[in-house]
């Protein structure tokens, strides 16, 4: 896990970049030459009206969709993801709107789901034994670092509140992401108080040095959290603004085409 300090200068290193990406489905153009830039240490919100190309953009970045043309660069190196697993191997983790947790398994098991640790020595290599203790300790450490409040780590996830469950999914991404975390409407299924818990967690992730891409419909959340806001319109990037220079109304105006940046 990278443990760099937070970098706030606009000139910060670009972690993930898309150049002139086009995606067409037959005659329908979903992405019409979009550019995208995520910098080290920032929370970049991606907003846009329905059909503006938000989710297609995100899918090309996570490998779920292959662009028709254009370039995607990770740390300045062109990448060609053939599927979500490729993106994950490259250090990009994604958090989805639906709670991607196994409710009957405990918190530690969910954090390490699909990436379980094996016990050291022969027990692990020959008998394939899980390192349950190691995973629990590591999970405790990670949750402590993220300052996320959870009951004991060996409780089943179904005993948690919705916000805590999503917290587990977010923490899982943070635990394994080496380059960046993408969050696709992570709070859409949550209540106000629970949303607050998850937003706090997203901040902790950024503060630990991982850049975050946040897709959200919720303008107050976006303005509360984002360092920069990438606005999509008609399959292109309409503008990139900051909460300091623009108001919510400005952003909505750009989204709908009523104004330009």
């Amino acid at each position: 896990m990278p443990a760099g300090s937070r970098i706030e200068e606009p000139s910060a290193r670009v972690v993930l970049e898309a150049r002139n990406v086009v995606k067409t489905y037959g005659h329908v153009t979903a992405l019409d030459g979009v550019d995208f830039e995520l910098r080290a240490g920032e929370i970049l919100a991606v907003v846009g009206d329905n059909g503006a190309g938000k989710s297609t953009l995100i899918k090309t970045l996570t490998g779920a969709v292959r662009p028709t043309s254009g370039e995607i660069l990770l740390d300045g190196v062109p990448v060609h993801f053939k599927g979500p697993l490729d993106a994950r191997h490259a250090g990009i983790e994604t958090v989805y709107q639906d709670l991607a947790v196994a409710p009957a398994l405990d918190i530690a098991a969910n954090l390490f789901l699909g990436r379980e640790l094996r016990a050291p020595g022969l027990l692990g290599s020959l008998f394939r034994r899980l390192d349950k203790k190691g995973m629990r300790e590591e999970a405790r450490r990670a949750m402590g670092e993220l300052k996320f409040r959870l009951p004991a780590i060996d409780n089943p996830v179904e005993s948690l509140s919705g916000g805590q469950r999503q917290g587990v999914a977010v923490a899982r991404a943070a635990l394994f992401a080496r380059r960046l975390v993408i969050m696709d409407e992570p709070t859409a299924a949550l209540g106000v108080r629970e949303t607050g818990q998850v937003l706090q967690l997203i901040r902790s992730i950024r503060d630990r040095g991982l850049p975050v891409v946040l897709i959200s419909h919720n303008m107050p959340n976006v303005f509360d959290l984002a360092d920069r806001i990438h606005i999509m319109r008609l399959g292109r990037r309409a503008a990139v603004v900051t909460p300091k220079t623009h108001s919510m109304n400005d952003v909505v105006a750009i989204m709908t085409g009523a104004a330009t940046a």
């Binding site: 991607a100 699909g114 008998f127």
Partner: protein, 328 residues
């Protein structure tokens, strides 16, 4: 920005909470309760040879219920358990009676059972057909095939190797068959797989939330296939155990094995919706059925009471599962 509060990690779950929360706590209490009642009504119940008999009677259904548990944990169901097992007994018996090496005969039979599991798993994971329908179809196909292979009739299997699991050994004054021992070894090994390895954890994850399992990168289809293949292998071994119990291959046998094994799994506290429960409960569930049947006979009670009580237990078990699911 909010000031982040550091919360201390809560204490781990207490031992009492763990035991009460464990899905096999209830079944264990029920088993214990029945044992006490039967021991009080007829002292013969606790005689070591009677306890040994109960274990021997549990061997085949107990072994089949291991495979059934695996399949049910993935939110599936296996209606072909009995048919696959009978297939094993007939293939092994037929080959051995034709003069082939008995070890080879049994090996081929186990392989064929494994292949039947592969076929079921392939249809479930590859074509995404419902397990209920797939295994019902396999049940039908095998029932017909068995009649054809065996030319309709049952036949004795007298080979000593095939019947070996019925031989007895002494374990500290307790007479057990090798079959009982093998059943316990099967339980221990599969328990290890389910609880101590990545494979087992992914079985639970798939049964719990298949979408989440896919999203975290578990190869769901391949994993499902492996579950059915392992179940088939276990049914094959159960065929060997069955030949030890009754050295006879009968295409009409084990017609109630589907429901009996499902009963053991359900009474043992495993959820039919998948992802919850485990093998300890299943073993207890199988023992409850065996203890009931034996104990009621020793008490001189109409055996229909066994079906009645088993039925009540199944409904209680499913109701408890539903209740606890609704609370989530």
């Amino acid at each position: 920005m909010n000031t982040a509060t550091v919360y201390p990690a809560e204490a781990p779950r207490s031992l009492k909470a763990r035991i009460l929360g464990s899905p096999s706590a209830g079944p264990l209490l029920v088993l214990f309760g029945f044992c006490v009642i039967f021991a009080l009504t007829n002292p013969r119940f606790l005689a070591t040879h009677n306890l040994s008999i109960i274990l021997q009677q549990t061997v085949v259904i107990g072994a089949l219920a291991i495979g059934q548990t695996l399949v049910i944990l993935t939110a599936g169901i296996d209606l072909a358990v009995g048919a696959i097992c009978v297939l094993g007994t007939i293939v092994a018996g037929k080959l051995a009676n034709l003069g082939y090496d008995p070890v080879l005969s049994m090996g081929i039979a186990v392989l064929i059972c494994t292949a039947a599991g592969f076929a079921a798993g392939g249809l479930v994971s590859g074509l995404r057909l419902p397990p209920f329908i797939v295994t019902l179809g396999i049940l039908g196909i095998l029932t017909a095939a068995l009649r054809l292979i065996s030319e309709g009739g049952a036949f004795p299997v007298r080979d000593p190797f095939l019947a070996w699991t019925g031989n007895t050994m002494k374990l500290g004054g307790f007479v057990l068959t090798y079959g009982v021992l093998i059943m316990f070894i099967l339980y221990a090994s599969v328990w290890y797989l389910l609880n101590q390895t990545k494979w087992g954890r992914h079985v639970y994850a798939i049964g719990n939330n298949v979408e989440a399992a896919r999203l975290v990168g578990i190869p769901v289809r391949r994993h499902l296939l492996s579950v059915y293949v392992l179940a088939g292998l276990i049914y094959g071994i159960a065929a060997w155990l069955a030949l030890g119990r009754i050295p006879n291959a009968d295409p009409n046998a084990m017609q109630s094995a589907n429901l009996d094994s499902i009963t053991a799994v359900v009474i043992g506290g495993t959820s039919l919706f998948g992802g919850r429960g485990g093998l300890v409960g299943t073993l207890i569930g199988a023992l409850i059925v065996g203890v009931l049947r034996n104990g009621l006979t020793l008490a001189g009670i109409d055996p229909l009471w066994q079906d009645l009580i088993t039925g009540i237990l199944v409904i209680i078990a499913v109701a408890l599962d539903q209740l606890s699911r609704r609370r989530r």
